[in-house]
Structure formats: C-alpha cells, structure tokens
Symmetry: C2
Subunit: 319 residues, 2 copies
C-alpha cells in the first residue's frame, strides 16, 4: 500500500467535487491582529456531516466497483468518520455497518442511524471494536474502510488543501491537526506538489502527542492513555500516514487544552463560527509563543470540524 500521488489526489477531487461542499475560506481581521499573521481558515466545519471526514469517506466509497459496493462498507468509529461513512454510503445507496463503543454519546449514534446505517455496539476497547468489525466483514462481505490508514481516504482528505490553494494561492505555511494523520499526510502530499515552499506544520494536543514524539524519535510510537478535550485527535498514527509526515513535516507543535479552549472561544466569538476542540488546535498553535513563523506570514489553517455538544462545552459557565 502506497500513499496517493498528486494525480490520485486530483482524481479524487474530480470524483467527489459534486458530492461534497466546496467549503469557504474565511478571514477575520480581529484574529489577524491578535496573531500578527494573515490567517486563512478553510471551513471544514461547514462540510457535510460537519467535518472534513466526508471527503475521504466519499472518495473511498465512490472508488469502489459496483460488485464490492453492493455488499456495503464497515468501520469502527465513534467520531466524525462514522457519520461520514454512513452518509457517503447512503449517497451511493449501499449498506453501512458502523461499530460504535457502548460509551458513544446517544446523539452520535442517532446521527449515524439517521443516515440509514446499522450501528453495532461493542465494548469500548480497540480489540472489541476490531473484532466486531472483522465479524461483520466476514459475515457480509462488506469492505472495511479505515478512518485514515487508506490511500483513498488520504487522497480524499487532501482535497481540502487543493481547494485552499485554489482559493488563496501560495501560503507561507499551513497548520493542520494530527490524529491518525490522514488529513495532515494528504495536506503534505498536495502542498508539496502545488506549493513546495509552503512550510508544513502539524499540531497535536500535548496530552496526545504521539506524532510529535514519533517525529523526535524517528520511529512511529503508539499513543497510550491520551488525555485531551480534542476527541478527534486521540488516535495513533497509521503505518501509511507516518512516513509521509516524517518525510514532509517541518515540525509538530503541541498545545495544551487551555490554549485550545481559548482558540475555540475566539473562533466562536470573533469569527462567529462553531468549531470543535480538535478544529481549534491550529489557531492555538499559531497564537502560541512557540510558533516558529515570522510576523506577517500568510498562514492556512484547516478548521477540521464543528461537531460539539452545546450542553457540554469545555469551559465553565458563570451565569
């Protein structure tokens, strides 16, 4: 299995273009002033299902031949990939089985069911999730679609960077969150081809910094016992995404949850856009003292998702 080429990424874009939203790139003069940069936010929180994950899931499902597609798709996820795969399967009219831990919020389970997918509950361990998914694949012949360790997924996620480049041209840097590394590796591959001088910076929660530790060690290290409000960034890098990050990234910054909360509130208050904690990490990074970019840089940031429980916000209420 090899990472996608720029041609694979362009083909993915042609394939999914009419099936996803062309999300806007927004700017905010207040946040420019506060950061001392010119910031371009790619609003994947406005993507279908509220997250960039629809790009990869759609590319994976549209790429399938009819015979395989008829048998459906399967994944295990309690996050945005679950909704994205369910929605992309519905759009092609094929069945989807989504394995979710019993601890997943009811609202997420309902969202997946709302797209017509079958939800299978399991114990909240990786072993239980993988075993449940393997059983379904064996029984149904469904195709397993991994959330990030899959070239079709990476090519799909990379299309966000293509659109960002089309809309605003060359950038001094792009900053992208790293969970399993699907979006970041796709962004690396796209930007290296389109705009090789653009600096590529990853960002992780300090409490789930496997990619930063891997980059420092020169080998892929697992994420154990992650602790962060960034629920989309708790996973371990994939075998396919890791070497792409290793070979392309300038650095991986880490941000504390408190910095993420501050960035998230700024995006809500100033840009009036609802972003989930994971999606606010690039702003937290660019506003941190550790940011290596010189003042006045043109920086692209991907707001990766906007799915939050408004009754469980990660800050204290005072009223």
């Amino acid at each position: 299995m090899n990472p996608p080429t720029i041609d694979d990424i362009r083909q993915a874009h042609d394939r999914i273009r009419d099936r996803i939203h062309r999300t806007p790139v927004i700017t905010c003069s207040m946040l420019d002033e506060m950061s001392n940069h010119r910031l371009y936010f790619k609003c994947e929180n406005l993507q279908g299902v509220g997250a960039f994950k629809l790009r990869g899931a759609t590319n994976a499902i549209v790429s399938m031949n009819d015979q395989d597609a008829r048998k459906g798709v399967c994944t295990h996820s309690s996050g945005n990939h679950a909704q994205a795969l369910a929605r992309a399967a519905r759009d092609r009219g094929i069945p989807a089985w989504i394995v979710m831990p019993v601890t997943a919020p009811v609202v997420k389970r309902r969202a997946v069911e709302g797209y017509g997918a079958t939800v299978i509950s399991c114990e909240p361990t990786l072993q239980a999730r993988e075993a449940s998914a393997a059983k379904i694949v064996a029984e149904t012949g469904a195709t397993f679609v991994h959330p990030y360790n899959d070239p079709r997924i990476i090519a799909g996620q990379a299309t966000a960077a293509i659109e960002l480049f089309e809309d605003v041209g060359e950038l001094d840097a792009v900053i992208v969150p790293i969970g399993g590394g699907g979006l970041m590796s796709g962004t690396c591959l796209a930007m290296t081809a389109l705009s090789p001088s653009t600096r590529l910076i990853g960002v992780e929660p300090a409490g789930a910094d496997d990619a930063a530790r891997s980059l420092a060690a020169g080998e892929r290290l697992p994420q154990t016992n992650p602790r962060s409000i960034c629920d989309g960034l708790l996973t371990t890098l994939g075998e396919l995404t890791w070497p792409v990050l290793r070979d392309h990234l300038e650095t991986i910054m880490t941000v504390e949850d408190q910095q993420v909360i501050t960035a998230m509130k700024l995006l809500w208050e100033r840009a009036k856009t609802v972003v989930e904690p994971s999606g606010a990490t690039p702003l937290a990074a660019v506003m941190s003292d550790a940011c290596p970019l010189p003042a006045g840089s043109r920086v692209g940031l991907i707001l990766t998702g906007g799915n939050v429980d408004l009754e469980r916000l990660p800050w204290r209420m005072s009223g």
Copy 2:
C-alpha cells in the same frame, strides 16, 4: 422627519459599501428539511462589530458634513448600536461619546472603549440615559445618533435587504426581528420597491411584543417591563418606524424564549454559525406552527447579530 425612500437607501448603500462587509447568504439543507421551506440566511452576525447595526451607524456618520462630524457623535446604548457607532466614528476619525448604564456587561464596555470611544456611565433608566446624552450633546456639540428613529439609520439597515435581494432574487417572504423597528422598517421599504410580492413578516419575543400589540391596536403602544432573553429586542417602536411597519407588514409573529433557544441551538449545531438570541427569532418563527407560509416557500431570514457571552448561554449545561 420622513422615512427614507428607495433612492435614499440606494445612496446609503453606495456610501457604505466599501466600509462594511458584504455578508454572505447561507443555506442549510438540514434546516430546509426541518422547516419544509427553502431558507436563505443573511449573515449579519458576520458584519463588522457582529451585527447589522454597523450599516446604519456608518451611513449616519458618513452622511455628516465635516463641520458637524468634527464635533463627534453621541448615543446611549448598551447593545450593538453602541459598538457600531463607536466603530463608525473611529473609521471616520471623529470622537464618540457612548452613554451606557452601569449594569452593562464589562465586556461590552471594553469593546466600545476598544474602538476609542468615551464611555459615560449612568443609572440604568431611560431618563438617566437620555439626560446624560443630552448633557454631552450640550457640552460638546456632538450629534446625537438614535439607534433606530432616524432616516439615515433606517436607510443603512435597509441595505441588508438590498444585498439579500441581489444575491438570491425574489423571495416569497422575508422574516425580520423587531426591536425599535429600524431594520424591519428599512427592510419593508427596500423590499416593497424591489420585490413587491414578497410577504413581509416581523417577529418579536412574546415577552416584548409591543409591535404586535401596536399592529393589533392600530396605534403605537409602548413596551413596558419587557421580559425575554432577546436583549436586542426589548425597546419600544419609534415614531418614525411605527407607521412604516403599520403600512407594510402582513403580520408580526411572536415567539417564546424556549423556541428562540431551540432555533439558536439549531443554527449553532447545524449551520455552525454563532447567532445571538435576537438573531435566532426569525428561524423560531418560520419553524413555529403559527407560521402562515405554505410549505416550500423561499424565505429570507436576517441573522441580525452574533454577540453572545459564551459563559452565559441561555440553556442548561449537562456535563
């Protein structure tokens, strides 16, 4: 004093066009499904200072001759008009005095000061506010700029409807919140000229329904003891705005605070856009059983503002 004509409104638009944001009109398929209409949201929550009020304030200030302008402007407000006038004054480089009740949130006071305006504190009564403002006008020669009972303000607010029409063409109806009636009267005057078949519907909180009562009684009634989370809609209609509403509105719907909260959460969760309670009233109205529009209507809704205290949200936290 007469209401503005469509020519006044067009001139206002030419005057302020380069000084304000051309806010986007967004759609949301989920909200279309839920409402059984095709909804077009004019995002004045993305306007400078986070509210449509910048339109009127900018038009008023840009319209002033140099001699008057040099002496500055004055108003009393604890809301979005205060910030808007302060910002428009800064943009022209003239002084602004803003009378705010001592009860105004510190964050709002700081925002006004952040634009370089002088804040004068007073007791939280209309009499105290008016007296403080009159004193400043007498001492400084500043021009008093009323938040809504002023043809230049009405013409400025009307430019939102002009842009909505330019972007999406004829609509079956527009729904606009009513506080003092500046935005609604401007919308009436613009739409009547541009698209006379569009139905004009106002919306008010049930706890601050002076306009609805006035329309029923055929005379302007004052708002006493308003009670609603919609802090932008608690004022009494103006002498100038009332006859415009009386002569143009089909109806004024009222919505309970609980309906407003539901609509506000839907806009945050589904459209990922941060709207304040007042700005969510049009969606509350169009989703209510009392809405007179037939299914499938093309409806324009103005999301009037997005200034909320994220630590004092009007719903219960469960986490």
